[in-house]
Symmetry: D2
Subunit: 360 residues, 4 copies
């Protein structure tokens, strides 16, 4: 029933792709935090469309307006709301789509759920555009976490058949800088290959999927709860909320299925008077609770569902099979743009868990 998540920091999203505004509320930001607008804008620009030829050429002005919970450049602690006006709306593109269900979009499921009353233009509430306000809240959460010594970095682990270096093999300095590149690849050769891939995919009127990998540094041990409020459970319900995510793994994830316990178990050792593990196959989480090591996770992002190629589908009004050709400008790979969205989503969820555990 809700596009709402969190315990001590609750986040609600609203808005449709072609409605008047999209936006978000955050209940539970600590009071008195001074937001750096520069840093926030820089972060938001990473998600923006029309940035370069590797993302959709639609120009969405993501000019957000903070309408409450913010006073004298600082959070007040009361509900924080942000709205973004929708502009570059070309609803005509979607007229032919009213009854022709786009494959692997939410057109059909939304139509059933909302009984035909949904605003289907541009995917409505299901549009990836809803991640813009998520990024505003998440961008602020990232700043708050940073002030507590916690940093989050993500990159494109793989795009179609192109594999980047694993995040654990790369220095934190390099992780920090990857967001400044055209595409978030550590390996510059692979980055160039990825550019060519995306150009070709666009020409083919097709799309590709990818895997985003993310690391959280600086979270102390003891955050999270057993069973259903495990760090994995909390992060997963947030991350599977991002449109396009179809898989999630922590630590060595699915690879653990092919391992023996003697290899997979992370031995403890004392290093510089601190308890650490010599390997990090657990991805920083044991029994649902952080162990002080970096939290490592990977998400599988499906290929953009909107492709220019002719597709088979049904016309639900006439209840007959038909063909569909989606026009308009689309991302060759939403994975590319999900990099900052994943950082934002994880930041919100981690901040929520940390705020809940400040009494330890």
């Amino acid at each position: 029933m809700s596009s709402l998540i969190g315990n001590k920091l609750k986040i609600g999203l609203f808005g449709e792709s072609h409605g008047s505004h999209i936006g978000a509320i955050a209940y539970g930001f600590p009071s008195g935090f001074e937001i750096s607008k520069d840093e926030l804008n820089k972060f938001l620009s990473r998600r923006k469309t029309g940035q370069n030829k590797f993302t959709t050429q639609r120009k969405e002005t993501d000019d957000y307006e903070i309408v409450s919970g913010y006073y004298n450049d600082r959070t007040t602690g009361t509900p924080f709301a942000v709205i973004i006006k929708n502009n570059d709306v070309n609803s005509k593109d979607y007229e032919q789509l009213k009854y022709k269900m786009r494959p692997s979009h939410a057109d059909y499921t939304g139509h059933i759920k909302y009984r035909g009353f949904e605003d289907n233009r541009g995917g409505g509430h299901f549009s990836g555009r809803i991640t813009a306000p998520l990024c505003v809240i998440g961008g602020i959460a990232l700043q708050i976490l940073k002030s507590k010594g916690i940093e989050i970095y993500a990159h494109i682990k793989s795009l179609y058949d192109i594999e980047d270096l694993p995040i654990e093999k790369v220095s934190i300095e390099e992780q920090k800088k990857v967001c400044e590149k055209t595409l978030a690849f550590f390996d510059d050769e692979k980055l160039e290959e990825a550019k060519i891939l995306l150009e070709n995919i666009k020409k083919e009127k097709n799309s590709v999927g990818g895997i985003i990998e993310l690391a959280v540094y600086g979270v102390k041990a003891g955050i999270g709860d057993p069973i259903f409020d495990s760090v994995e459970s909390r992060l997963s319900s947030m991350i599977f909320g991002i449109p396009g995510v179809k898989g999630l793994e922590f630590g060595c994830g699915f690879d653990c299925a092919k391992m023996k316990g003697s290899l997979h178990n992370d031995p403890f050792e004392i290093k510089d008077s601190k308890i650490v593990t010599t390997t990090n196959n657990s991805g920083g989480i044991n029994g649902g609770i952080t162990n002080g090591m970096p939290i490592i996770l990977r998400t599988a992002v499906k290929p953009t569902a909107s492709i220019g190629l002719v597709q088979d589908t049904v016309d639900i009004k006439e209840m007959k099979n038909t063909k569909l050709e989606i026009t308009g400008r689309h991302d060759p790979a939403i994975a590319v743009r999900i990099v900052p969205v994943l950082e934002a989503a994880v930041a919100i969820s981690m901040l929520d868990m940390i705020l809940e555990n400040t009494d330890i």
Copy 2:
């Protein structure tokens, strides 16, 4: 803070491995459902220990007692509580473990979180034993779903290097029967290989991981919600609550990252006057909402953390590196026993979502 989950059907777990009882509460079972105790006992026996030589030889009597919400063999609709007495408790095994942290267990994270006051015997609240009451509630949820035409089947997709057939390649009849086998493999040859693997792993005092695959049949289109209350989000926070799960994917999951949109998208077609998709790469879920196709998911289960081999670890009392040799009887692969647990967990979560959507 809680071992509690759900919206309209809320489930809470409690208990420690070596405490007096473990148990569960379910808030929101529909009233008047007649529970088949035979069917429930048969289901519970699948999770039980000491069943055969492929699971731990500890004998846990999982005799549950329903203490409320149940009258004249039917659910009343008021809170449903079940308790299970702990018996075969050998706390001595755990004495040496008080300060020696078992690698990849929750000993250390629990110790930090609960500040040394945790009941560490047998893993305490983090023990896999907590899945026994989950299975009582889940076993009933499975029966309620079945009465609504919804069925859930799971099998061992892979165990270490042994791969079973994908669930979509197997008839529903065969899926139904897989639970009667010693190990839940469709392919009998692979099953025999798996037996030998497990015997060898036990001899090695080691353990292995695996992947469990599950399908839900009969869920109509329109169940679930956008964004954070997506079917994937809801199922994931439940499934990542199962001890040992480190990865989860829906539909073609991580494989989607290597696909083009033209291949990944599931075209709609009309078949027998119903709207279906010709492929099911989405695993029955679009935009977080069910599309009427089978829901397909896979979870990665790590190797049992308790192994008999000597391991490196720390003694947190003396704050020094040390060696640890875990004695006692342990599962060579918890993946094997997680098959019914996953069915139970998914059943609870699906029933919750379906009860929320009865007004459609």
Copy 3:
């Protein structure tokens, strides 16, 4: 941590008195409901300021803008958001108040909670102004309930020493019309007395309290839940959220304390083949669940805390006792304006409970 409430219909409020916007989100409106803007505007005008000389002369333009969840004049079922721009803002009035705590306002408690970072102008998030967006959502909830045969009426049960007729002594026709009067009194003589009282109170630079009484008609038996999700619990957490409410009672309420069981118990009888009670001391609720009789409740509303008389208080900057004279225009009795707010609040909560119980 949150200004958020509800289960199946969740409502979140945001905004400060002198911020750029105030607003509300509703998660869970049924899809396809056609909102009558005329009816909604008529309802909202009842809460508006500057209506007549009995309310504050501040002119707040309560022009709401629905920014999501609304398409072709109907609810879509996705998150419904409404924003209201703040206009008639005279922040100067509040400059002297930055460190002088207004007695019985939230200035001091907000200052402690938000550590001095709160937007204190005009009471900030604690301002009665936050009830404007609540009334937009509530006004729509009232329309949805009406379409289901449920109606809600409220009146001023007492204002200072002036008592109106009890709602149960008045025909539903008269209850329906009371909202069209200058003050919501059934008894016209008392209404005239109340006008004179309010004029005098204004001249005195003082304020008065009152009791609002409300009835809900048409709710079938079986809505609500035992214990903490009782209809009383659900309504109370909503109603005590309205600024100024300090007491709440159901049925004969506090009077039951002076009654014997033989008088208080509501005997059942069959009337027109339906089970009813001959009296309604329970106010339509037994064991937390509706019994089909009208739900009757009363709330005590404190005198407006803002009065023009000089008051004793402290200056928290200089930490010394001081005097305070509040200037500006204020309501002589917020009770008068809480009549529609209470209707809105109860409508939201009742609709939430009814949506949860549609499967009965």
Copy 4:
């Protein structure tokens, strides 16, 4: 759907009057708290039946068993569960009641809600007996609060027509001792009158209502949240969960309706370098947040619904009017026994709010 409440400390109740067990779970107790069993038993004895001739003569053995979350005499921090075996069960008394609805009980509403599948014996889940496990959890919450300098005292403010002294007129020492009296009256003359009243009421086979007044001392300023998570909202949803409560007021409550602002407003002053208010009409809460003054509240408790006098009612099986004579042993005034229940309920809710605010 649930008998569950709380944010950081969540409490769930379960059980029926004549089922095998009743019980409670608490999620979120801090770890390491040493429970005084003596103190707890002393507290529980205050709620017990058969104590003296002023309460029901049914003997319920409230021997609780803590089954989880408790180790070495201390809370572990993991889910805390307590069960109480039901003994003195005389289900025969209730056979005649299966179809004859007891007036002002939940028989009829429960029957509709649970469609005839409810366990109606002894009121089932709606029985006041459910307050026994609430008192176990609440008794521990009281101890935890006490360790933080917070104390809670309650007394019978009025019983039928007998009025006790207001709690604010009595020293804290006297408040502390009132629980040791046969009836919780400060005024010993009134106490004697109340004894005679209750004896007479019993002879009359009737019952009476009353008002319980409660004070919380030692809560610092800044606890609670605006709007729907106000201290009043949080306490009210808890308190209206207690069977028999039909009204609740804070501070001067309903009396504020008859007051002018100049009298009602609580002026601030500095006293011993601390900010206090000279009066406490707000009952320690402004804008939903504590102001550091004692929290004062009063609840109206209806007369025991079970009376021995013949009553009019309906037989729902034969759908005809009939007479009912309730046999068995009942409390002449449940108000008398609600004194410790209210303390328990308020303690749980206050502890929840304080645990949420430890980061201030």
